[in-house]
């Protein structure tokens, strides 16, 4: 009996969804025949049969998600392929991926497939010793990395300029040592891999398909600040850290309900607008490798405190790259808190296949004119990018106005509270 387990998918992915089985119980696929298609965070891979044998049981059905290590399917066959070391459980990928050198059973373990770094053993040894990643080194000789290349790279990495530090005005600013002149610059090439690659692909798709327009607005954050101040200590008693985001999400929901076109998606093939009846809010979050959008599911059914709790978990998970596929997909509208890293406003890119994205900037005291006088008010900049095929400027303006109204009058939420 051979239990075929989902192998490590690499690139930090630890789950895959079975898109479809190409075999059923009772079939007898041959070794390496494609038996299933699985999806891992937007890439579809084909799984080859690890043995020839009769399928006795399929454990994970179409549409279900399996974790790495889960048994997917059981074959009736005895094989010592694993012991002999040649059975490679890694799924054949539609795009060549790097397979790490494993301590696995194969006596013929390879490191990367493509793109492969060409470096002689002595060069690889030096690179490891100096902590140099060969993928980042530009080969000098005929596509091959030499010992010199590695040494030069290591030296440049050491003499790289330190970032200049500026202390607050009350202390005299400290400036680090002057930048040493680096040896003549050599362009570095770094292949797009992993999350960065997926982000790039996603952004390309979004920008290519959706005609973007952005409406800018401002909201007076005074009432919001007051509300948060009042609620913070109570939240703390209930062990929840209350930031602005949970409140903003809660204020967003009624606006999405009033303007359903913003919580929709365009079926490009059938040219139909799909009005989503669920409210899954994507929250753009920074992770060490790049932008991730964890999803707060059914945000309309959650209380502010529940949203706050879930948000903490999602953001933590994004940073640690431990989120599962359902937590990273399925959003109907995305919110981007650019204020969390000091941003004002910008032109956010829509999270395809949604139709709009709202960026909220940092609350900042600004001088505005009220009743003929200049006053200082905390202003929150808003930037709403929308799919101009489905939403006109007027609609976008009204959306922003309504959202601003709720930010400025959050107590309106109580009118619809059950």
């Amino acid at each position: 009996m051979y239990e075929f387990k989902l192998a490590d998918l690499g690139e930090g992915m630890h789950e895959a969804e079975i898109v479809e089985w190409l075999i059923k119980v009772g079939d007898t696929p041959k070794l390496d025949q494609t038996i299933a298609r699985v999806e891992t965070d937007k890439a579809i891979v084909e799984l080859p049969a690890p043995v020839s044998g009769k399928v006795s049981e399929i454990r994970v059905k179409d549409g279900e998600t399996a974790k790495v290590g889960d048994v997917l399917v059981i074959f009736e066959t005895t094989t010592l392929a694993k012991e002999n070391g040649k059975a490679n459980n890694a799924p054949a990928t539609t795009v060549p991926a790097s397979t790490a050198a494993t301590n696995g059973q194969s006596p013929k373990s390879q490191t990367q497939s493509r793109p492969r770094v060409l470096a002689a053993p002595a060069v690889r040894r030096l690179a490891f010793e100096l902590g140099v990643e060969l993928e980042h080194v530009t080969p000098s000789a005929n596509g091959r990395i030499t010992l010199e290349d590695v040494k030069t790279f290591a030296e440049r990495a050491k003499s790289a300029p330190e970032p200049v530090q500026f202390a607050p005005a009350s202390v005299s600013p400290t400036i680090s040592a002057p930048v040493q002149s680096a040896p003549p610059a050599q362009d570095e090439r770094q292949p797009l891999t992993g999350l960065r690659k997926r982000i790039a692909e996603h952004m390309e798709r979004s920008w290519r398909t959706i005609p973007h327009a952005t409406a800018f607005g401002d909201a007076d954050g005074g009432a919001l600040i007051a509300m948060r101040e009042a609620l913070k200590p109570v939240a703390q008693q209930r062990s929840v850290r209350l930031t602005y985001m949970p409140i903003l999400i809660k204020l967003l929901i009624p606006v999405l309900k009033e303007f359903p076109i913003f919580n929709a998606s365009l079926d490009e093939e059938r040219r139909e607008i799909i009005y989503k009846r669920s409210y899954h809010i994507g929250v753009a979050t920074d992770s060490p490798e790049g932008l991730l959008v964890p999803v707060l599911r059914d945000a309309d059914r959650l209380t502010i405190l529940e949203i706050a709790g879930k948000l903490e978990h999602l953001i933590e998970g994004a940073r640690k790259r431990t989120l599962s596929l359902p937590e990273l997909s399925g959003s109907t509208f995305t919110l981007n808190n650019v204020g969390s890293f000091g941003g004002g406003s910008g032109t956010p890119i829509i999270n395809h296949p949604e139709v709009a994205i709202l960026a909220v900037g940092r609350l900042q005291e600004k001088a505005i004119v009220q009743n003929g006088a200049i006053v200082a008010r905390p202003i929150m900049p808003l930037a709403l990018s929308f799919d101009h095929r489905l939403i006109d400027g007027a609609m976008a303006g009204r959306f922003l106005a309504r959202f601003s109204e709720l930010i400025e009058n959050p107590q309106q939420l109580m009118l619809d509270m059950r």
Binding site: L31, D32, P48, V51, S52, T77, T78, T79, L80, A81, K82, E83, N84, G85, K86, A87, N88, A92, T93, V95, P96, A97, T99, A101, N103, G104, Q105, S106, P107, K108, S109, Q110, T111, S113, R114, R116, L118, A119, A120, P121, R124, R125, F128, E129, L130, G131, G143, R144
Partner: protein, 454 residues
């Protein structure tokens, strides 16, 4: 608690003197460490005493005997009369080879001023090991420890090894009498080599292979030649065998190995195991306890001495403060059947699955002068390369000395050599490595000694 327990402080403590352990010990000594190595048997471990070396020795002696019985010598004009062999003497010769090598290892250990302790060790905590042997009980407190305790034959459910009816490969090599009929279960190099060795000596051999293929994953064209060789020896091969359903006795089972970690009390040191049951290590051979290393079969990786040897060096260098890792691109794999088979790197199919556009070439040994002067034409050289840039990805060699020539290919792959690199250089003529060259040239569409069919 042992009365009068004295703890000896040591710098580097190595547990096991097999290829992983003794190499780690010697390398550490070369780097200036003070080393103590603990071993319950003779120096050299399983490989030297019970596995690789005895097997290869008996393969040589059985081959010599077989050659004298075959018609080959007669065709060369050599007449032989009543050639016989004495199994006991053959075993004694084998043991002589083993003893000589083992003594050599012992001398190297002593010569490197490492202390050799006879006994069995286990962890008391993550800094101390207790060792018991004929000397009594010793307690060592170590700065660094390298675990190299190897592995045991994997057990089969309901079929305990007894060395008589159901044997491990080691037990097969130690048989004091040759049986008339001997069955083998397995599909790896050990099963095939043992089947070959006994068949050559006139034993009626049956080989039961689980699954559909001898040597899973090896190029089918190469396997055909090995299978033909087994047939020529009179080995009866059955595929898709299941061990529970074979009732022939005696039967030798090569079913893989399990890491030997049970007696080490790893829990007391807090050392973690990986899913395969071996000691979990990083690429610098460190366990989850940074000053405790593990190398070779006990880590649960592929059970090959060449891996243990390199990992032993990595561990020694690592604990001496060097930043080194065990990260070979490829591992050569050799099977000493007749014809001999050796392979390294990707097969054509594996390379395609890995995403390469593949070109491949082949050259039959029948067209190689050296092979014919050696009296054989059974063999082939298969080569796999990347179509885009000609980088050599793998090769499979079948024929005499394949296991030695494969070293050239291993170097080529690790260096990132292209087909052109291999085709450019000179090869000794007449030479078996010319088959490799011509296989490369065949890939490039210009082998001289094969009529182009591409």
């Amino acid at each position: 608690m042992v009365v009068g327990d004295v703890t000896t402080a040591v710098d580097v403590l190595v547990l096991g003197a097999g290829p992983g352990g003794y190499v780690a010990a010697i390398r550490a000594a070369q780097l200036g460490r003070v080393v103590t190595i603990v071993e319950q048997g003779a120096p050299g471990g399983t490989c030297l005493n019970r596995g690789c070396i005895p097997l290869k020795a008996l393969l040589t002696s059985s081959e010599r005997y077989y050659q004298t019985r075959s018609s080959e010598l007669a065709t060369m004009g050599i007449a032989t009369e009543a050639v016989s062999f004495d199994w006991a003497t053959m075993q004694a010769w084998k043991q002589g080879v083993v003893d000589r090598l083992s003594e050599g290892v012992r001398r190297l250990i002593v010569g490197n001023r490492a202390e050799y302790v006879h006994g069995t060790g286990w962890f008391i905590n993550d800094r101390e090991v207790r060792v018991e042997g004929e000397h009594g009980s010793l307690r060592f407190k170590f700065e660094h420890c390298v675990i190299a305790t190897g592995a045991d034959a994997a057990p089969i459910a309901h079929l305990p090894y007894d060395g008589k009816d159901i044997l491990t490969p080691e037990q097969a090599l130690q048989l004091s009498e040759l049986p008339e009929i001997l069955s083998f279960f397995g599909n790896d190099y050990i099963a095939l080599e043992l089947a070959t060795l006994f068949a050559r000596l006139g034993v009626k051999v049956k080989l039961y292979v689980p699954g559909e293929q001898l040597l899973p994953g090896v190029e089918p064209a190469a396997l055909r030649l090995v299978q033909a060789g087994l047939r020529k020896l009179g080995v009866q091969v059955s595929m898709k065998a299941s061990i529970e359903q074979i009732h022939e006795r005696p039967i030798v089972v090569s079913n893989g190995v399990v890491p030997r970690t049970a007696g080490l009390h790893l829990n007391d040191a807090g050392i973690k195991l990986s899913e395969n049951g071996g000691i979990a290590v990083n690429s610098m051979q460190q366990s989850n306890i940074p000053h405790i290393y593990a190398v070779g079969d006990c880590t649960g990786g592929p059970a090959f001495a060449t891996i243990a040897i390199k990992q032993g060096k990595v561990a020694a260098e690592s604990l001496s403060g060097q930043r080194v890792q065990f990260a070979p691109l490829v591992t050569p794999y050799v099977v000493h059947t007749t014809p001999e088979l050796a392979t390294v790197g990707y097969t054509a199919e594996e390379a395609t699955r890995a995403g390469y556009k593949v070109v491949s070439g082949r050259f039959p040994l029948a067209a190689n002068g050296r092979a014919l002067t050696l009296g054989t034409d059974a063999g082939v050289a298969l080569v796999v390369a990347s179509a885009d840039d000609g980088i050599l990805l793998g090769a499979t060699l079948v024929g005499p000395r394949a296991g030695d020539i494969i070293g050239q290919v291993t170097l080529a792959i690790e260096m990132g050599a292209t087909l052109t690199d291999l085709a450019e250089i000179l090869y000794p003529h007449p030479g078996l490595s010319e088959a490799l060259q011509e296989s490369v040239e065949n890939t490039l569409g210009r082998a001289i000694h094969v009529l182009a069919m591409k």
